[in-house]
């Protein structure tokens, strides 16, 4: 039986798209993150997985530049992060769509803010609307779409600005289970085709193991990276076979064993 390959979190990869170095975050007297270091390999999907309160969303927002770190630094392609930038785009848990704007305007909104001309940005938006499977819904409004379709709009918006790093904050937690499974399969396809670096926050163990090239387990009190798991054998298998792969099942069990004591 295949055993998961486990590497320590001090491992340094030569080709990291994002490097987190000794980052701490303090809210008042609460230590949200403590001296956290983590590398995100280029072109791969890394999950941040952990119980609630482990600081995974905080870390993602620090990488996005939406929150300042109390100490430490983030590098994206060698450049230090000081705020939001065009090299990163964000997919929100609650979709964060403009309810007064059509699907196409929402998808093109990132480009609109960058001053791209209307015809050009709508051509790009149409391409990504097709890519996420929403062709024909361009003129619909968010309230006319289901939760799953709204998140596809959020995903298309993040893709259309062509950032190298995609930050996804529990993107599938507000959609139903079946839609979620379809999303996970589509996400694998996307990682393969888009050649982007994905950072994916989730609290679902199965989801993390299913979609990730690398899983960083975060533990709370004080928040830290406890281990990094890189599934090796099932990543190239077809999506239908992953969930019954022995390594998949092993990793899910291992992660649950290490997390269960932190779940109240």
């Amino acid at each position: 039986m295949a055993t998961p390959q486990i590497k320590p979190d001090t491992r340094s990869t030569t080709d990291s798209a994002v490097s987190v170095r000794n980052v701490s975050k303090v809210y008042g007297d609460v230590q949200a993150l403590k001296d956290l270091s983590l590398e995100f390999p280029r072109g791969e999907l890394t999950s941040l997985l952990g119980p609630s309160g482990c600081g995974k969303t905080t870390l993602l927002k620090i990488i996005a530049g939406l929150l300042p770190a109390t100490s430490g630094e983030i590098e994206v392609n060698g450049a230090t992060v000081t705020g939001p930038g065009p090299d990163r785009s964000f997919v929100f848990q609650d979709f964060a769509l403009l309810p007064w704007a059509s699907v196409i305007r929402n998808v093109a909104f990132g480009l609109e803010l960058r001053g791209v001309a209307k015809s050009e940005r709508e051509a790009i938006a149409e391409k990504y609307i097709r890519e996420v499977g929403l062709a024909g819904f361009e003129q619909k409004f968010p309230h006319q779409l289901s939760g799953g379709m709204r998140q596809r709009v959020g995903l298309a918006r993040a893709l259309s600005v062509n950032a190298e790093v995609l930050l996804l904050d529990e993107p599938f937690s507000a959609v139903d289970e079946q839609t979620r499974r379809k999303f996970q399969e589509d996400l694998l396809e996307l990682v393969k085709n888009e050649k982007k670096t994905f950072i994916f926050v989730t609290h679902s163990i199965e989801e993390a193991v299913y979609v990730s090239d690398q899983i960083a387990i975060l533990l709370p009190r004080p928040s830290r990276v406890s281990e990094i798991i890189r599934p090796s054998s099932f990543r190239d298998k077809s999506v239908d076979n992953i969930r019954r792969d022995p390594e998949y099942l092993d990793i899910v069990d291992r992660i649950w064993a290490s997390l269960r004591s932190y779940v109240e």
């Binding site: 939406l66 930038g85 929100f92 990132g110």
Partner: protein, 250 residues
Amino acid sequence: MHVLGYKLPALSSLILWALLWEVIGQLELTFFVPPISEVFVTLFALLPTPAFLNALGVTAYTFVAGVFFAIVIGIPVGILMGKNRVLDELLLPWVNIFISAPLTALVPVLMVLFGFGARTVIITTTLFAIWIIILNARAGVRQINRSLIEMARSFGASPMDAFVKVYFWAALPEILGGVRIGVIRAVKGVIIGQLLISIVGFGALFELYASKFLMAEFWAILIVLFGLAFALSEFLAYLERKVSYYAAAR
């Protein structure tokens, strides 16, 4: 409402009340209530007179000016209060005091300060309308979904873009609600201002007709004012409904 299987148009119950008025008028129970038919005859006779047109002009001018100041001052102040904690702490007590204060009592003071002309009426109108506009714009900005703000920031929105393309629209349903109530209050403001000063616009006409017991003229003017206020309020409610498709889904 349905009568004998026919759907009656909205407000058709008014016909019933008009009939009742006509009957009471024709019975000549009191000089105070002339028949409504007489009131309407007087109304159409009054409409083209210089006295009426002049009053309407002055009232429209002071009303529009008063509402204009209430909106252009009220909305930005409300939005700034919603976004800035210090400003909010400084201004909120005053807004809350003025919104519940009997502003009519202030009009004599305003007359002393600003004279007996249009200026005082404009200021009265603004004072009636502005507080609810401020409070609603503030509430609108405060309920904006946090992640919409983060979304705008993460895609690199400038403060101006965030304001024009996100905050304003996200707060628009509340802002329009505030403007609608503000405008209704402004109608009260402009009429109360004119009545107390009583030498301008409809205030002067009311004073004239009431003192000479010209009740048909008095009622005619009143019907015109009620009609205008109602039409204005309905128009703003229509604007509000135009944004309601997203108000519930923000």
